[in-house]
Structure formats: structure tokens, C-alpha cells
Subunit: 331 residues, 2 copies
Amino acid sequence: MTAEGLGLPMAVPATDLPARVTIHEVGARDGLQNEKATVPTPVKAEFIRRLADAGLTTIEATSFVHPKWVPQLADAEQLFPLVSDLPVALPVLVPNQRGLDRALALGAKRVAVFASATESFAKANLNRTVDEALAMFEPVVRRAKDERMQVRGYLSMCFGDPWEGPVPVHQVVRVSKALMDLGCDELSLGDTIGVATPGHVLDLLSELNEEGVPTSAIGVHFHDTYGQALANTLAALQHGVTTIDASAGGLGGCPYAKSATGNLATEDLVWMLRGLGIDTGVDLGRLTATSAWMADQLGRPSPSRTVRALTHKDSDGSKTSENSEDSHKER
Amino acid sequence: MTAEGLGLPMAVPATDLPARVTIHEVGARDGLQNEKATVPTPVKAEFIRRLADAGLTTIEATSFVHPKWVPQLADAEQLFPLVSDLPVALPVLVPNQRGLDRALALGAKRVAVFASATESFAKANLNRTVDEALAMFEPVVRRAKDERMQVRGYLSMCFGDPWEGPVPVHQVVRVSKALMDLGCDELSLGDTIGVATPGHVLDLLSELNEEGVPTSAIGVHFHDTYGQALANTLAALQHGVTTIDASAGGLGGCPYAKSATGNLATEDLVWMLRGLGIDTGVDLGRLTATSAWMADQLGRPSPSRTVRALTHKDSDGSKTSENSEDSHKER
């Protein structure tokens, strides 16, 4: 048997789902930040270019944190100019005013700050309390808005926390509202350790709505540590969420399990969205080829199930995917 | 960071989902049948005993096909008596009257026949047309019902076929109805190559209902080749399906991609169901320990994300899961 007949999923739209979804691609930032290997700057630039060529329109490029904290992204100043001509949105992370200065100097138009829903992770990741971190972001968001930038507010540990266990929804809602009050245009609700399940997702989204945060301002950021990311995404789509974070090839190892995955793989997401008839503009063949290429650069197989299935070698040694989507359609 | 605080998912029930689900565990049959290694009979028996001890109540034990076709399960006669005292349902596969004779002689109480929704797979798997296979099953099902056995009808390639591409819903409905007309008590709709997406699943379930097959007679059997199995399961649950096939540890490699998974992993399913507050009776800690043990027997890591996450070694070398659920709760 070969995969020749697999092609793409049959599109059978489900009722009451969004017609279009924006994939917020985080592989080049969140993915590479959590890979052990440090990737050369030109390889990162080619990765981002290939992602844009595959049809992704929002590609998080890098992070302007202090190189001491994230050495994998210490080349932000060198990388950004190599991709800033691309006709796509290239958000970057900025933890503080110094980071914002660096992003502004390079012409970045979108920035993101990153808060935590739990005190334990705020302490571990930012060495601050939750409220101290919010206070640190306040002038950053204000100035970014003055500069007419679009501002995203990441919120980590929205469902569970490795130190605190399950995270109460009201606690997440409080920090979410604080980020919106600072002036964030969009939230990204992170299930950083991958423990969420669909009912929990729907509960949080409903509570946010009730507290005045509209679904249109909410993105979701699921991790696949326990295999739940795509089911949670389906629940979020059913609620009306139209911004989904994902990482090409599932890049970004989970800190808790070397062999497990971290981020939801963009390819697995695109497969589902195509099957649901939801437009993303992404060419799955090109995207898969990009992730297979990146996996070669990193020297380990992609954890994305779709990438593995579409790029496996047939018994005759031929690969079935390293080409554009058109060639799949012809099969 | 350690996984100490992970524990179990927070239970947040979603509305309109079943209160209880039966997991039809297929690891010992469908899983081992598709593993390269042939597992010694006593190991298989211990696997089934451990699965029962973990709380699974329906454990497919083996297959009474000709050993020439499935050498991995050639020990059916030796295995079944080693587990038949267990207080759980132990369905077995029977392709024909000879297989049914063998199952009856050993006191099996549940059997399953296996049909295909496509001509290509019927030819490849049974060397018959779809209708010739149904004709072969007719006396098998009749006699099994005469013997007061419960009969399951497997249906392969319900969504896509490697030779034929997407499979029309009406084609699946026709064979489903034929299996019900033969006297099957339950269907298992198989996404053998893992290409289904949630809209397609809902479409098939609705069509089956319209054609007189009640949801209560339908089980779903998803493969995780493209990472879609759990999202498809959520859609099936939302439709009211209460029988879900899964394979402990995700056993059963996909024939199309050595490194990809085949069956939905029971642990990933249990994680979601627990999070949704749906009762399964399964102890996730015991089940994970069983799958980790079986992975050791097979000499390769489990493809289940949950098994990997819960059994990874912490930096101090300690494992976080090889113990029962109770110890998780205390953390």
C-alpha cells in the first residue's frame, strides 16, 4: 500500500463554525525558543520565508528579550531585517521598554507582551508577581499603541500550572481583563502544559465573554502534551474563536517530556480546518515540506503526525509530500 | 520544573455530552496485530489482565483468522483460556464459520466480523467483493446470534481509502445497513487511514440515523495518523456516540508511516473524557503503567502523548507515573 491515494481530507463543513480562521504561526519564535539546538540566523530567515510562501499570513518572528534569558533568539536584531520585507504580519515579543525600543528601531509593527495567570509561573518566568508584571507591561503597551502597533497579550498557564495544579477560571479572567485594560488588541490564552480539555476551554471562553472580553479578541494557544490540542481547538472554533496559534511541524519540545510535543502542529490544524471547509490560505504540501526541511536542520523528526504521515518514505523509497499541494490534488 | 503538579485534568463537564462512555479496548488485538514484533502468549495474557485491572471492561482479546494471514495472533487458542476467567467482556474477531467454531469451542461470548466500505480494501483484506464478504458473514452472524452471542460489525475505510480516496457517505451507509440487517448488534465505523475530520464524522452519523441506524448501535474507531482522532471523537460524543474504540498506548503502527501512530491511544481518550467529567471507570495511572510496560516489551516508546508525558523521567531520574491514580491525586 502507498499513500498515493491519501491526498487531502474531504471537505465536509460542520455547522456553526467560522468561515475563516487566522493561524498565528509561532514556530519560529515559540518553537525555536524551546528547541535545544540554536539555529543559524540564515536558516531561521529561510524558515520564515518558506512559511510565508506556504500561505501563512501571521508569523511570529522572534523575541526581544535579553539574550541571557533566551539564547536561542539572541539574534533578533540580525534576523528581523532579513524577513521584514515579507508581505505578512511579523509580530515580535517584547518584555519591557528596552525590548520595545529594539523592536521599534527595526520597524516592527506588531508586538506581544507575555503575562502569567499564575503567581508561580510569573515568578519563574518573569521573576515578578502577576501584578508586578502587568505594571511592567503598562508603559510598554501604552507606547506601542501610541506608535499605532497592534498589541497581543499572551497569557500562560490558563488551565493548569505545574506547581499550582488546575487554575481557577476567575483567576485567568482577572488577568485577561487586566491585559485588555492595558490596551491589548488581542489575547492569546495559553495552555502551557497541555492539560486542558474541551469543557474547560468552553468554560473559560464563556466566562471571558460574560466579563466583557469579546470572542473576536481571543486567540487560543494549545499544547499537545496530552494529545488534547486539536480537540480543544474544535471546541474553541465551535465557540466562535477565529485566531488559533500553532507551530509548524509541532516545533517546540515540551519541557516536561523530551519525546512529547509542545505546541499544536500547524499541519495537524490545517488538516482539520481543510476537512471542515474552513479557509486558511495555507498550502499544506508546501507547509509540510517546510517543516520536513526544518526537522532536517534540527536533526530530529517532526512531532507533527501530519508531517510524519505525508513525508514518510514509501517502500520504493519515494517521498509522498515534498512538493506543493497541486501535486497532491492530481493523485 | 517537574510534572509533580500535573495530576489529572480538571473536570469541567461540557453540556449535551453522554454521562458515561464505553471504551472498546483494541490494543491486544488491533494493536498487536499491526506491530512487527510477535509478542509471547504469556505477555499478551498479562497485558489483557493489566488492562482489566486498570478498569477497562471491554477488551478485544484476539482474532480467529487463519494464522497465515495474521501470524501475530496465531496463538488465539492458547491465549483465550489464559484470560477467559476475567470479569470483563472479551470480544474476538471471526472471519468465517471456521473462526466462529474455534471461538465457540473456547467459550467466547462476543464476536466481531469485519467488512469494508470500499471494494479496494475488501479485495485487499478479504479477497472478496464487499457483497461477497457480506454473504460470507451472513451464516456466521446468524449462528452467533443463535448462540446468544453479541455481534459487532467492523467497517473499514469509512472516510477515506488509500486506493479510492474519499469514500462517499452513501456507500458507507449501505454497508452499515447491510451489517445491521445481518443481525449485528453494534457497528464500529473505522477511519482506517486516519483522514476523517469532525464535519465528515457528523455527516456520516446523521446519515446513518436518517437511514434507521440508531446512534446507540454505533461505535467509532478513529486512527490518529493525521492527529485527528480525538477531535473526531469529540464530534462523535457531541452527536451522542457512547462507544469509542481505542488502543492502550496507541499500539498498532500505521501501515503508511512507520513513525506515525495508528489507533487512538486509550490514555489520550481517557484524559479528555475525565476532563469532560465523563465516567469510564478507568484508572489512568494503572493504564499508563500498563502501556509503558508493554512498550518495554515491544522495545519502542509508546506513541501515546499522554503515556509519554506521564512516564517521562524527571531530571532526578524518577518517573512520575508508574503507579496508580491514587498517588497522582495526592500530589
